[in-house]
C-alpha cells in the first residue's frame, strides 16, 4: 500500500482503514507501524487486548518500540480518547518529527448510545488535531461486523480512506470546519422517568438529594453514587451559570445504567469542552472534564432550544476510574 501523494507530511492525517478479516487488518496495520518505526516516528496503538496480542506477534522484534494501550479502558467513555491522543502527541512533538497512531474506537458490541458518541469522537478528532502537530492516525473499521451505515459515517468523518490495498481521499468527508458543528443527533426518550426536578441556584441541595436517592435505588456502589452526585451537580451548575440560570433534571433507570439528564436554555458551542485537560488557571472550566472521567458515558446535544447533557453510570461493576493514562 503506498502513501497518497496528495497529503502534506506536515499535517494531521486522519484515515479510516476498512478491513475485512484478520489478514486485511494485519496487512493494513503492520506495514503502517513498520514504516513509522523505520522513519523514527513514535507509534501508539490503542486497540483491544486481543488485537494488541496479535500485533505483538506479527511485529516480532520490532514490537519493543511501539506503545500499546487497551481501547476497552482508554475508550470505555469515548470522550476520554482525545485526551489520550493529545497526551501522546504533546509528549512526542518535536520540530520536524512526525508521529503515528492506530485507534479502533468502534466495535460491534458497543451499545447504540456508545456508538453515536464514538462517531462524534471521530469527527472531533479533526477539530482537536486538524492544522496541529503532524501525525497520522489510522482508524480500523471491521467492515464484516459493523453496520454499513457505520462505514458510511466513517467515510464522512475521515479525510482519507484505505481499503482493499489502496488509499484515497474520501469523497464524502464532511470537512474540518463542519466536523465541529453543533451536535444534534436525536436522543431516545426514556420509557419512564423516575425523578424530575426543575432547578435554579437555590435548589442544588435538593438536586443532590434526588440524585443520591435514585443512585441508592439503582444500587450503585456508594463511591460511584457520590461521583455521580458531584458530576450532576457540576453540569447543573453550568446550567445556572451559562444556561439561563435554571434547568431541568430528569433521572431514569435503564437495564444497565442510571441516567441523569440536565436540560437548559443555554447554547453549547465549544465542541471540545470536556475533552481538553484543564489549564493551570484555577478559573478554567472543569465540570465536563470531571463528568467525563467520573461517568461511564456523557452525551451532549446542542438543540435549537437549548442544551441537553446525559450522564450514564453503569449499575454493573465497571472498570477503574478513567484518568488519562501516562504515556511515556
Amino acid at each position: 500500500m503506498s502513501s497518497s501523494a496528495e497529503h502534506s507530511k506536515a499535517e494531521f492525517r486522519h484515515e479510516a482503514l476498512l478491513y475485512v478479516g484478520w489478514e486485511e487488518f494485519i496487512a493494513g496495520t503492520v506495514p503502517f507501524i513498520r514504516d513509522g518505526l523505520s522513519a523514527g516516528e513514535p507509534v501508539l496503538v490503542v486497540e483491544s487486548a486481543e488485537k494488541i496480542e496479535m500485533l505483538r506477534l506479527a511485529l516480532g522484534g520490532d514490537v519493543g518500540e511501539v506503545l500499546f494501550a487497551d481501547m476497552a479502558q482508554v475508550g470505555a467513555n469515548p470522550a476520554c480518547i482525545i485526551p489520550a491522543w493529545h497526551e501522546f502527541v504533546t509528549l512526542n512533538a518535536a520540530p520536524g518529527r512526525r508521529m503515528r497512531g492506530i485507534g479502533e474506537p468502534i466495535w460491534r458490541e458497543r451499545s447504540s448510545d456508545e456508538l453515536v458518541e464514538c462517531q462524534r469522537h471521530e469527527s472531533l478528532l479533526n477539530v482537536a488535531f486538524g492544522r496541529g502537530e503532524p501525525w497520522w492516525l489510522l482508524c480500523p473499521y471491521d467492515v464484516e461486523k459493523l453496520d454499513p451505515a457505520v462505514i458510511e459515517e466513517a467515510r464522512r468523518s475521515h479525510e482519507f480512506v484505505a481499503e482493499r490495498g489502496a488509499r484515497q481521499r474520501s469523497d464524502s468527508f464532511r470537512g474540518f470546519d463542519a466536523s465541529g458543528a453543533p451536535f444534534d443527533v436525536p436522543l431516545p426518550e426514556p420509557e419512564s422517568v423516575a425523578s424530575r426536578l426543575a432547578f435554579g441556584a437555590t435548589d442544588l441541595e435538593s438536586l443532590r438529594e434526588v440524585v443520591s436517592r435514585q443512585a441508592r435505588a439503582a444500587r450503585l456502589k456508594a463511591s460511584r453514587a457520590a461521583e455521580l452526585v458531584i458530576a450532576v451537580n457540576e453540569i447543573a451548575t453550568n446550567s445556572i451559570r451559562h444556561g439561563g440560570g435554571r434547568g431541568t433534571l430528569r433521572i431514569w433507570h435503564e437495564p444497565t445504567a442510571l441516567v441523569c439528564e440536565i436540560r437548559d436554555r443555554g447554547r453549547f458551542d465549544k465542541p471540545l469542552a470536556g475533552r481538553q485537560r484543564p489549564s493551570n488557571d484555577p478559573a478554567a472550566p472543569r465540570g465536563l472534564w470531571l463528568a467525563n472521567h467520573l461517568c461511564d458515558l456523557v452525551q451532549i446535544r446542542t438543540l435549537a432550544d437549548g442544551t441537553v447533557v446525559r450522564l450514564h453510570m453503569n449499575r454493573l461493576p465497571t472498570s477503574h476510574l478513567r484518568v488519562v493514562p501516562d504515556i511515556h
Binding site: 441556584a201 442544588l204 441541595e205 458531584i230 457540576e234 467520573l294 476510574l321
Partner: protein, 143 residues
Amino acid sequence: MGIADRSRDFWTAGWEGRISIDDLVDAFMGGGTVYADKQLVVTRTLAPIGLRFSGEIDINNCGAVARCLSAIAADEVDVHLDISSLLFCDISGIRAFVEAAQRREKGRLMLHGLPELLQTVMRVTGWADLPNLHVCDCKGGSA
C-alpha cells in the same frame, strides 16, 4: 437538615469522636462561628490556627468560603482547614481552597480529613500537588 441539627451533629462528633486539648482551647479562647448558612457552618480554630468546615459547599456559598479563607491569618503561618465534616464540596469550593493557597507566599494551607472523593476530584481536575496546598493524611481533625 437545618443549621441547628448540623451544628449539633458536628459538635457531638467533635466531643465524642476526638476530645482534644485543641477543642478545649478553641472553645475557651474565642474560636467560634465565622460563617453560617442553611448548608454550611465555618468555625474558627485557634490551636492550630485555621477553620473547620461542616456541611456543604457549592456555588451558593463558595464566595463566602473564599472570604473566610482570605481573612483567616497572616501569610507567615500555616493555616489548618478541618474538612472532615464537609459532606459535599463542588469544583467552585475546591477552587476557593486552591486560589487561597496560591495567594499565600510563605504559609501553607493544610487540608485535614479530605474525603476520598475530593482527593479523586482534585487529582482528575489537575489540582493535586500544588505547592502551597498540603493534603494531610491524618484521619481528620486539625491536630
